[in-house]
Point group: D2
Chain length 359, copies 4
């Protein structure tokens, strides 16, 4: 289901960058939940552009109108909750360039192969990072549901342009990881270096990538199903839906490949009568099933493909190489804004697993 | 769908390590395909234990009986193809130990949380690596289908115990990557070092992990759907179904996070009238949609959790810490045998995308 | 998937009778299709109330705004097509009555059991017949797609209040079955009797039911999959999604139960080089797979449960019997308006099967 | 999912009439359930041929071997339960006739259109009624699960060759409807007439159809989801998976179309503190959601298409009409044997809804 995520809590994302609107249909939320619109707005603002010199100049209010799914008291009534965000700041411009030649690193070429001339090239169409706004709308609802279940989700920039943030304790992480309006890192000093690196890349007409780490505490044990519907399968499939993601790893991830079993295995122990592990390299799931330990996942983002530096493309009609300069407003690094998107997607998957696992 | 992989080509895996049988139901293969049973057996032998001193001593013929899905001429007839592998070498032993305390790093604990005392503890039950045999059966059928479509899939050990194999050219990889019965590496010398490292770990009663790289050539462009049903979403979800996988990355993966856009973007060019990229850091998919360039994916495997060294576990009844020594026959490293499993799963996903994308 | 219909052509319906809006997300239409907005409006008008004294007095423009899914030229671009219909004529009224006691024959009671006090009682909430408007929007798009494939779908009132319409020839039906703005019957005289019966029931404060027959010509042979994904499975599951449907039968349906094999079997013959059946009691599918003969299906609608006559209900709080008089504007018979809804749903299923079956 | 039924309790049916085996994979049963093999065998015997002169002469033991899914104590362990039935009594014969010309009323022609010459023509291949044996295996497991939840399912022949059985009280049906080994009717006298009608048709080389009514008591209220995942959608989709089904109706079904609202609506009342309806024309679901009242559903079966009388077919190669005489062993009426199949499918759907609805 290409635009749909989830089994019991299902989100269908729609819209294109320059269509009249973008939005999401959220099915499966329990009836009687009253969406906290202020928390929702605050969460969406974290993703929104225009907060910072490191982000795109496009300024969108990203105000969500909920056009269906609530009863007269503003509570979920069992019907799908539908949020619509109008696309207001869509500059009218000349797209003939994009029709002609695909931007390296973008979905343009693949979209042309799939949809031909009918593809929507305006602002990246349905491949625009803007489509992550409805994901955040849906994720904010999932977060609220999770909160009631004692589950907390938080992410930070683990690495950006080679600069590492401090890693939270995987066994007993302390939330929040940073102040509400702060740059999303644990170590503010590292954050300053990251910001400097972004601005430096921007000045060079270039872009940088990074890694987001997300943690979730309070997940009940015993959720997830072998072999293809476990925590990792579901979370990875969902996270690869965020534009620019190139890798997903759990716990020690690729570092586990260099370890010995005796180093990697987490010993069991008992804490307050509960069976837990002393360390948390397994990151909250064994055999795809949750253990009750924190979920820890790292997500690699490539550098934004839209750069000001001239690149080599081809003319789709003449099939000749041509130089390409990408115009428009672009983030030199999407990673700071992607932090809340990773949280949103993680919350959606975990909420789905809780709703589905209930018996 | 926990035990099922795929949309149009669907595989449902069943069985436990010590049940009468394991197997797979394969739906959606085109009618009229004649399974090449010799190629199938050869492929399954690559995964089978007992080939090498580096693997488990358990010796299973892994002979598949196809009990349904073929017509009287041995061709697929449109009905589900069902392969059954009898579990013959299941030593009768005392499992009270496993009922009592979960093995660190194994699914034992999670299975207990999920299924309670009814879980099948014998040989790891449904979490056994043995369940990858039916995946290979299904994958071999998918491979045969892909071959007819001009798609080739090949994997090798990219890294093991810190030792790197040579990386095939991601733009024009040359298959096969190694001789049919050879250790699955490009660089035989690196392979020798890996084998030595495995044996060394075995002697120490320990285990090692590694990374498998899989490549696929010949995929048509334009397959896969945004946002949650693209190549990466589907391949990642499937690969995390292989026991012990901890990370999946495409192209530059986590290394992309340290690159600049100008370094990472693949310039377009024209080759024999076809639009291609000069480099292949995007690894065959942009926006989740195939570009026609080779698919390149790396899969991280943790070290086998079953080690001879004494570990710390807990008694599930008394909730007290107890020491645990894991007996039985175990691989000191599953990575060499996992190579064909990664190929099988990749083949299943790619074949599914081709069958689904057809229009 | 409760609000979603289809595999490859997928429709997700949303909204409640008195929410800000109702609508549908339509995924899977081929890119490059230009929705014929006039045909779409004309189709939706057939379902709309207010056309006739036999229908509800509620007058809704049912104007659809397509907020996503089209490119700048008004063509489908591969992204989900989203149509939104604002609910404008939602009279503000007192719903305390409905909170208190469920209307016999309505979903009120079941909704209360499922969603408790959070259910949306206003105008029937998500169970309102109004939700069939987005189905017609989606169905009109499917019809346009089918037209290009040479498939035609048409329905009529087969029976209403015991009055039978003429049955079109199941082997060679002639479309259209009636003039564009006419009462949807083949035999105008029977139609007059039906209208009289509806008005008579209305005067009595009562309602009547009926049967809609839908036919589809031009379906390719070989579509549909045994055992649970054949034509009948899919069409029946979809048609039971229309409010008030109580029965679905194909070809001779329940009459087949009284026939002998020699009477029911359709003999094969050859017509213009094509293998066809002389009669069409099998109604276009054998073993769930299309044969290329017309699809013929009958759908039974119960009488509208909303009647003016006093009925017996219970007070949900006190759990005591109370009399109930249902107010508001209601159709004494929904069957005439249901004709286009049956066409829409049938078109969606058939288009889905064509898109899915392609290989 | 063509061969798969259900969301949380999922059954995948496999096999062909003359393949080595037929069987089913049953996923989603709670762990710790001990299949009552005797009850299972007894249930399967009800479907098995050879019990009666009215049925086919083919005699199959239909012994199920459970090859996976149970732990060492014979309990479900959370892994898929797989039952395999070997096809033993498959007479070797000449199928050239069937390759050449399709049997009227059978899936032969549709299978040829779909699978071409690779279709399995032996004994009807995957379209054989024999595939209902694995459905009964799965259904017997579902029945056992339902029993623990207080849900009972029972069916009878409501009508056969125009002869009506007595209808059980839809409000308070009394189970069992008939003695364990009796002909499956409430009114033994009607049963005798039905048997006589079957034998009469058999003597004439012909066949007869009938209607099966299934009832289920004890279903919790509030299960099922609008608009496409309600009780009727799911049950109808599943029941149309049984070979020869031509119609499905709930409660008054097609008779409701001739009723007035005042006749059809079920008044609410209170019984032992529970809100119930006085009558049960709605048959246990309103708006697709269960009300807690008995589920009542009627299923129409066409007469067996395999008749001894000469029929008209075509030669698929020459495309010329040819006469056809169908040989082999065939039921002159499948309805008596279909009774337990209808029960099985109903049980599977209801168990799935209970497992899925749990929260």
């Amino acid at each position: 289901m290409s635009n749909t995520l989830g089994n019991k809590l299902r989100v269908t994302v729609f819209g294109q960058s320059h269509a009249p609107a973008i939005g999401a249909v959220v099915e499966g939320l329990p009836a009687g939940m009253r969406p906290d619109m202020e928390a929702l707005s605050a969460f969406m603002r974290r993703r929104a552009p225009g907060r910072d010199a490191t982000a795109t100049a496009r300024s969108e209010a990203d105000a969500v109108e909920i056009i269906a799914g609530l009863n007269e008291h503003g509570e979920t009534c069992g019907a799908p909750v539908v949020g619509v965000i109008r696309n207001t700041d869509t500059r009218s411009r000349d797209y003939s360039n994009l029709y002609r030649s695909p931007r390296p690193g973008h979905a343009d070429f693949a979209a042309w192969e799939k949809f031909g001339d009918a593809r929507d090239v305006r602002g990246g169409g349905q491949f625009s990072g803007r489509l992550t706004a409805p994901l955040c709308f849906a994720g904010a609802l999932a977060m609220q549901f999770l909160q009631e279940k004692g589950v907390a989700v938080a992410a930070h920039i683990a690495r950006l342009a080679g600069i590492e943030d401090d890693a939270p304790d995987p066994v007993h992480p302390v939330f929040p990881l940073y102040a509400p309006d702060a740059f999303p890192v644990v170590n503010a000093e590292a954050g300053e270096k990251m910001r400097a690196a972004i601005l430096e890349a921007k000045r060079a007409g270039d872009s940088v990538g990074g890694v987001v780490r997300v943690l979730a505490t309070g997940m009940p044990a015993g959720l997830g199903d072998p072999m293809f519907d476990g925590l990792e399968n579901r979370l990875a499939a969902a996270l690869f839906g965020i534009p620019a993601v190139r890798g997903v790893e759990f716990g020690e991830g690729f570092r586990a490949a260099d370890m010995r079993g005796s180093e990697h295995n987490d010993a069991f122990t008992v804490e307050d009568g509960r069976i837990v592990t002393k360390t948390n390299r397994h990151a909250g799931a064994l055999g795809g099933i949750t253990t009750g330990m924190p979920v820890v996942c790292r997500v690699a983002f490539k550098p934004t493909p839209s750069i000001a530096i001239e690149q080599k493309s081809v003319d789709l009609q003449t099939r000749k190489e041509i130089p390409l300069v990408v115009g428009g407003r672009h983030d030199p690094c999407i990673v700071p804004r992607a932090v809340s998107v990773v949280e949103a997607v993680t919350a959606l998957v975990l909420a789905d697993m809780i709703l589905e696992g209930a018996m």
